[in-house]
């Protein structure tokens, strides 16, 4: 293998993952993979273990069984910040920003994994520190431009509308220059317009930057429209996996998701 990023088809490979909390099985023998440039959706009823899977992938939880490979490297034992430095970024279901800091500062915090100068170096500022700060600011500005949040640069995050905060959170994840992005319900609680915007950003990230992503989302219309492949979970298990059309009509998915009577297709149609 030469220098630089290894060219792999499978970016993330999770094998036989099992996560238990005391007696409770949150994730059970789950395997999944994300290929280069792919958008994988994870769906399932509340409590199916979707967020737990993300927490295992980025290292918040230690699974009892299974292995996680990221870019041909076993990351099962690595700490969250090490995985972040390797390129796994995520957003959270409940916004986890610094509410008293500005939008720029929040996004800049995503750059911390790329900061090279020491505390002393930054303190002196001039020279290397200055060049580095300028470089990071530039990357942040590109993200501000991408997410169209120019008007909020210096606003405190805590005072911003919910939809904007969600954008800022995505911005912070992007500031890490991730090679894999985990999105935990990025559109929850958004208005129709805001959802459309967010869908546009996600599509652009995939189409233009080829960024692989894992998306947890409850809005079935969004998941079916955006994702290349969908994995359905229930009670911590994978119950189906495949392209959207297939999942939409999968009998197990329909049963798990909506009880016996209804079809998932109806929910999609009725959104």
């Amino acid at each position: 293998m030469g220098a630089g990023v290894p060219l792999v088809d499978v970016v993330l490979d999770v094998r036989h993952l099992t996560l238990r909390f005391a007696g409770l099985v949150a994730v059970s023998d789950l395997s999944l993979s994300v290929r280069a440039g792919e958008l994988l959706g994870i769906i399932g009823p509340n409590g199916a273990g979707k967020t737990s899977v993300l927490n295992c992938i980025n290292g918040f939880y230690r699974p009892q069984e299974g292995r996680i490979r990221f870019l041909d490297r076993d990351v099962t034992r690595l700490l969250p910040h090490t995985r972040a430095a390797l390129g796994i970024a995520r957003t959270f279901q409940n916004i986890a920003l610094y509410p008293h800091m500005t939008v720029l500062q929040n996004i800049l915090s995503g750059r911390l994994v790329h900061m090279r100068s020491s505390l002393m170096g930054c303190g002196v500022y001039w020279g290397f520190g200055q060049r580095e700060v300028l470089r990071h600011r530039e990357r942040v500005e590109e993200i501000v431009d991408f997410l169209e949040i120019e008007a909020y640069r210096d606003a405190r995050v805590g005072e911003l509308p919910y939809g904007i905060q969600k954008k800022v959170e995505l911005g912070r994840a992007l500031a890490m220059e991730p090679r894999l992005l985990l999105l935990d319900e990025p559109m929850a609680g958004m208005t129709v317009d805001e959802k459309l915007d967010m869908a546009r950003y996600i599509l652009e990230l995939r189409e233009v930057r080829g960024l692989p992503m894992v998306l947890i989302e409850h809005d079935m219309g969004v998941v079916m429209d955006l994702c290349d492949r969908i994995l359905a979970m229930d009670y911590g298990r994978k119950i189906a996996e495949g392209p959207p059309e297939e999942i939409q009509n999968h009998p197990d998915v329909i049963r798990a998701y909506l009880g016996e009577e209804h079809g998932l297709a109806e929910e999609v149609a009725g959104r």
Partner: protein
Amino acid sequence: MSAVLERPTLAPEARKASLRALDTFPKRLLHNAERFGDRVAFREKEFGIWQEITWRQYLEHVQACAGGLLALGMRRGDVVALVGDNRPELYYLAMATQALGGVSCGMYQDTLAEQLAELVDFADARFVFCEDQEQVDKILAMEDRLPKVERVVVDDWRGMWRYHHAKLVRFSELEALGREFLAREPDRFLQEVAQGRGDDVAIFCLTSGTTSLPKLAMLSHRNLLAQGENFLAVEPHMSSQDEFVSFLPFAWIGEQMISYTLHQLVGFTVNFPEEPETAQRDLREIGPHFMFAPARIYEGVHSAVTVRMLDAGPVRRRVYEAAMAVAGRVVDAQAAGKPVPGWLRALWWLGYWTVYRPLLDKVGLVRMRVAWNGGASLGPDYFRFFRGLGLNLKQIYGQTEIAGISCVHRDGQVRFWTMGSPIANTELRVTEDGEIISRSPSVFLGYYKNPEATRRALRDGWLYSGDTGVLDPSGDIILFDRSEDIITLQDGTRVPPRVIEDMLKFTPYVQHAMVLGEGRPYLAAILNVDFQNVGKWAEDRGIAYTSYMDLSQKPQVLELLEGLVRETNARLQPGWRVRAFVSLYKEFHPDDDELTRTRKLRRRHILERYRDLVEAIYAGADRFRATVTVRYEDGRVATLHPTLEIRRLAGDG
């Protein structure tokens, strides 16, 4: 080779003489690139930093664009339509078009796809410049109605990763094509510019016609340049060291006049905000030296300030109120031509440093030498407010058909009730019917493909404005209203509705007001509450609401409005008082044909659209059940039936 030979060319001497004449914009630009060189022509905020473009670079971009247009087959006389927020690229392309003897035609960026297609097609544009995906989508969606459009130049390609339409050209590609082209024919640009004449049509300008289809006014280089010179002759407030912020639509004659014409004549710096949403903030960062804006901008600033003061603590509010009382007295004395006593001047000075100046600074107007209000006139109350703060606010009067301006207030003679006096080389008269007519070198060439409308507007070199007014003994013109808008009540009383509407709107709570009563026994008003400000007012009082519709009908809100109408009535003579009003369940909007793109009322459309409501008002009803069809973004259609309360006020006000 034959094509090159056929092209008429000028002998070197004739070319030099032509370029020296400076009678077209491209010749001016060549001159300015030499004169100003590395001085800053444009500043655009990108990635949070103000990026500078010098005069020399301006010319280089224009040359590249012109070369690109030539490479794509542009011919003299072709029309290029331009749609988008103000960006340097828009100016490069407009100038490049004119350099090749073409006509640039700005379109309002918020125009709906169908209307845009209609306009572009009507203008016979062969090329369209779109700022971004939003505009491209409109053009492509209407492609089958635009057979004459050959190329669509796109500045910002974002979101268009799957667009492979053969007509689309990136702006950067256009420039690259142009550089190649000019490398092959290096003389071509100068040759083309030298062929231009002052009487060539430079722009088509959409008139803000408040009736029927908009019209395209043809204005020549001479019309526009004369306009700029005649205006500068009476308003020498601009210098090449100044800053200007360009945030109003490029399609508007006012913006053309300042950031295109006067920019070339004076050489100040034009600054472009990052996004429309950041315009306010960017304005403050730049601190422009002058501004030319329509009434709604000043109304907006006033409303923002008032709301903030209502929100301030009691001490601050007292100080503010006291200071504004002082300001009002000073302005009234000045307007009446009376001397301002020394003690009052001292108080004003105190107020300036403690209240007015910090306030102007907050809204970015602190460095402003002069602010002109154009388009619709601004109510006298606003004049008192801004002039009291020490802002040299002046009224401008004019039409697109006279390249923008025919009258302006002179320094020291700002009388709020007039529209000022004619600028240099401009005559103004009032006909026996009371119509204002004017004549100057800037009177337009006619409407494109509309000889009938041209005949009506242009008679013996005079421009007929369709406005009713009188000449003040001082020589200033006093505008009543559009002739067709003046209301004649049943008893024959004639009322200019604008005067009353301006008074009704002088609160942060009313966004739009329309007064009606043609042929009726009394006046009534349809009001639009300001969603943001009334929404905040309601929140402060713990009034819960769900939507604009809901908020507009809250009894407390109606009480608030009734109080405002009463206050207005108290200042009006009995025949002009508003006897009934409704708070409409929706805001007037250009997409519904209720407002023009410059946000003026389209009265006839409104009367037509709300005919049943108007009937109910004059039938003496207390309530009106409206039928509203709502189309959601996903295509669903719903019908709602809000009930409007019709409030009535007693005759004594």
